[in-house]
């Protein structure tokens, strides 16, 4: 058992590009779910729209990377409007089902053979990151000596990513302490009361859906940049569920909840993965082969994840930083 490498790799994951992605996605969900009480289960769809916009604008249509970012943001707003119009007047669970369905529609459409010329089918798209990579100021591997290190490109993605996270947190903090943010929170607490005060609840919910979706778009860009490739499997339904777990670990309706949640989530997930991997490998594994093989061991972390999400929601729905009174959510 090589504890040092397990810890080192776990720290690498905890602050790595993947943690950035989930952090941004969870910030979006925080606006939706934490502050407004909207159950968006289709954050993966927002991410897919943004990620595929960049990838296809550059690789398929040979246009500028920055135009791709712009188109991605615009399309995300359009998606939020399309989803919001039919569902925001309905009960919370309708939005959940429609958003999860929309995310799957987007994923299956971009992965289809019919549109393979534009989106690359199941194989996805590659070769769209040149203008981003050329800005990379780092070379060699960068990291904390003696603890862990990242490749120069990963570290460049992380730098940009964590700066985006910091900016997003400032934006969320400013928004939520404004009168506008207080209306959102009161919609979460009692929609009818807000309506009786003459506020247009529908419009506020729509604005929240758009803004949270834009944070999801940032996560989508980060997904495309992290792997320098994009494919339909990057945006599976489980991505949204993991982002919810991230949000709930840190604490919903807290500005820094998603950041803390993401770091902890990825540390634990990698730690469990690496631990069980090492425990089942080698000639004399710690856990004998008849109990579990290395392939089976890779599933243990997800079993723990599911169990963890259940226990978290039952016993500590406010997560680490949250306020329990703020999460007394119920269907309306």
């Amino acid at each position: 058992m090589d504890w040092q490498s397990i810890l080192s790799l776990s720290v690498q994951q905890a602050f790595g590009p993947t943690a950035v992605i989930y952090c941004l996605a969870a910030i979006g969900l925080n606006v939706h779910f934490g502050y407004t009480g909207l159950l968006n289960f289709g954050q993966a769809g927002f991410m897919a729209v943004a990620g595929y916009s960049v990838a296809s604008i550059v690789s398929t249509w040979n246009m500028s990377f920055w135009l791709g970012i712009l188109v991605g943001l615009l399309l995300t707003v359009v998606l939020a409007l399309i989803l919001g119009v039919p569902t925001l007047r309905l009960r919370a669970d309708y939005l959940a089902i429609v958003t999860i369905a929309a995310a799957e529609i987007i994923r299956q459409t971009v992965g289809s053979v019919t549109l393979v010329d534009y989106f690359g089918g199941q194989d996805g798209l590659t070769g769209f990151i040149d203008s981003f990579r050329n800005l990379n100021p780092y070379s060699g591997s960068v990291g904390i000596p003696g603890v862990t290190a990242w490749s120069s490109y990963d570290f460049w993605v992380m730098t940009v990513g964590w700066v985006m996270v910091a900016l997003s947190c400032v934006v969320v903090w400013l928004l939520m302490r404004s009168p506008w943010g207080r209306v959102l929170k009161s919609i979460r607490e009692d929609e009818d009361a807000v309506r009786s005060l003459g506020k247009n609840v529908y419009s506020y919910k729509m604005q929240s859906l758009v803004i949270g979706g834009l944070f999801g778009a940032l996560a989508g860009f980060a997904t495309a940049l992290r792997s320098a490739a994009i494919g339909p499997s990057f945006f599976a339904t489980d991505i949204t569920f993991f982002a919810y777990t991230v949000l709930l670990i840190g604490g919903a309706a807290r500005v820094l909840g998603p950041v803390v949640g993401s770091v902890i989530f990825w540390f634990l997930l990698s730690f469990l993965g690496l631990f069980f991997d090492q425990a089942t490998r080698g000639s004399d594994p710690l856990i004998p082969d008849w109990i579990m093989s290395p392939t089976e061991a890779s599933l243990i972390r997800f079993i723990f994840l599911g169990l963890g999400l259940m226990l978290l929601m039952i016993f500590r729905p406010q997560g680490i930083f949250g306020d329990r009174r703020e999460l007394a959510l119920d269907a309306r």
Binding site: L39, V85, P86, T87, R89, L90, R91, A92, D93, Y94, A96, I97, V98, I100, A101, A102, E104, I105, Q108, T109, G111, S112, V113, T114, Q122, D123, E191, V201, Y202, P232, S233, A236, D238, F241, Y244, L248, M292, P294, T295, E296, S298, L299, F302, I303, L305, G306, L307, L309, M310, L311, L312, M313, I314, P317, L327, A328, L329, D330, A331, R332
Partner: protein
């Protein structure tokens, strides 16, 4: 009118799957989620050493079950265009081309896999005859070769529509059972259960476990192994529903946990169970010992397999029985009363907790049976329930969340729409079509087809 069938054939037709499998240290950790369609044409196993090869299997997906295609020539070239090796698919459709060097040495290289068009069966041709494969250590790489226009499939649109309609009805019956369970649970408890897909998978796994017991179960000379397995799956799933309710949901209701919190708990349960299933049953898909390959009956121009008939008959009988129970028995009336208004039902002396518990048993038993029957028709893997969960949701929402008749009506609309729509849209997008319809219906009639209109905002 003959344009449509040709276009359909273009996508359903022959699809061969070539996988790059890596030996030694490079074992895939998680299988890619997009394996739909590979159900009856499983891949060959990779060797467990440090060598690397391109493995694959050529299957004709026009047949149900998919049949292997023998004698198709495959050539592998490196990125420079030099030939690395060639192979011909054997009687089981598999082929293997060894790559030079170890797995690690090949990391990051790209190979081109070409299919020899002349060696394909008559009347078929591929859209793409070559695809690039990039080697990586994380995943097996799966490549599909969709086929081009298949000449000779000039059956009329009407016949094809009828054939698809039958397929749609078979699927609808299964969907209706699962949807009824979900809708009953929602109606009585308000819980949108995201772990319902795992109840479906549970049934399929239990039936498989019984099926795999040594020996066959014979009654009066008839081999009834799978029939008994279905019955056991129905009962054990019901018990599983009871456990679900007693161990998790009932304590949560007692604590006064909100509906949204319970919804998120059900997501956790879904992730937990799905990975547990994969832990025990593996990522590959399984078939039952009986009914996996049978000759279809020809009724006029329509083809129907005996297993489809059996599945439909069993499904319809169960559905009718359940709806009659709900409509006429005291318990059924009590269930509907609880679904309508739990507080009022309670005040008239109905034991609400007992009704909810029974609904969980019934709902899980229905879901499990539908999963087991689904396994009979197309085989199953650990995420079969999760894959159709959205369609179950679509059916329930379309009919009206919480209404019993709505779930059945919705399931038939969704199930038939999915199959028949393939006349117009590529089959790979048929689920997309159903989900788009769901969103459109919500725009026009938010409460669903049979739901009660209520002001919600």
């Amino acid at each position: 009118m003959h344009a449509f069938p040709k276009r359909v054939a273009a996508f359903v037709a022959l699809v061969s799957t070539a996988w790059v499998m890596l030996g030694g240290a490079a074992v895939a950790t998680t299988s890619p989620p997009a394996q739909e369609g590979a159900a009856e044409c499983a891949l060959p196993q990779g060797s467990d050493d440090d060598t690397i090869s391109i493995l694959g299997r050529i299957c004709d997906r026009r047949d149900t079950p998919q049949s292997p295609v023998e004698g198709v020539g495959i050539t592998v070239e490196d990125s420079g265009g030099a030939a690395i090796g060639e192979a011909t698919s054997g009687a089981d459709g598999t082929f293997e081309v060894k790559l030079p060097g170890t797995a690690v040495e090949n990391l990051g290289k790209t190979y081109v896999v070409k299919v020899d068009e002349d060696s394909l069966p008559d009347g078929t041709s591929l859209d793409d005859l070559e695809r690039d494969i990039a080697i990586n250590l994380d995943n097996d790489v799966s490549i599909t070769f969709p086929i081009g226009e298949a000449p000779g499939s000039d059956t009329g649109t009407a016949v094809q529509g009828l054939q698809l309609l039958i397929g749609g009805i078979v699927f609808s019956v299964l969907l209706a059972m699962a949807a009824l369970g979900l809708s009953m649970i929602f109606g009585t408890t308000g819980l949108t259960n995201f772990a319902h897909g795992e109840l479906i998978t549970f049934g399929a796994i239990i039936a498989y476990a019984v099926d795999q017991l040594p020996g066959a179960i014979r009654i009066g000379g008839l081999n009834l192994t799978v029939v008994i397995a279905l019955f056991v799956a129905f009962l054990v799933s019901g018990a599983f529903g009871w456990v679900n309710d007693q161990a998790l949901w009932r304590p949560l209701r007692r604590r006064g946990t909100g509906v949204i919190a319970m919804m998120i708990v059900s997501i956790g349960l879904s992730i937990f169970l799905r990975n547990l299933y994969q832990f025990f049953s593996g990522a590959s898909s399984h078939n039952y010992s009986q009914y996996s390959a049978v000759q279809p009956w020809e009724i006029g121009p329509i083809l129907i397999t005996p297993k489809e008939v059996i599945v439909t008959v069993v499904g319809v009988v169960v559905l009718v029985a359940v709806t009659l129970l709900l409509q006429y028995t005291r318990l059924g009336k009590a269930t509907r009363a609880v679904a309508d208004n739990p507080a009022l039902a309670s005040s008239t002396g109905i034991n609400v907790e007992r009704v909810i518990n029974l609904v969980w048993i019934g709902g899980a038993a229905l879901a499990g049976l539908s999963g087991a029957l689904l396994g009979v028709t197309q085989g199953f893997d650990y995420q079969i329930g999760f894959k159709i969960l959205l369609l179950v949701f679509a059916a329930v929402v379309l009919g009206g969340l919480g209404t019993i008749w709505g779930a059945i009506v919705g399931a038939f609309i969704v199930g038939i729409f999915i199959e028949v729509s393939t006349l117009l849209v590529p089959p790979e997008l048929k689920f997309v079509g159903a989900l788009v319809v769901l969103i459109i219906v919500l725009l026009i009639r938010p409460q669903g087809l049979l739901g009660k209109a209520q002001r919600v905002g």
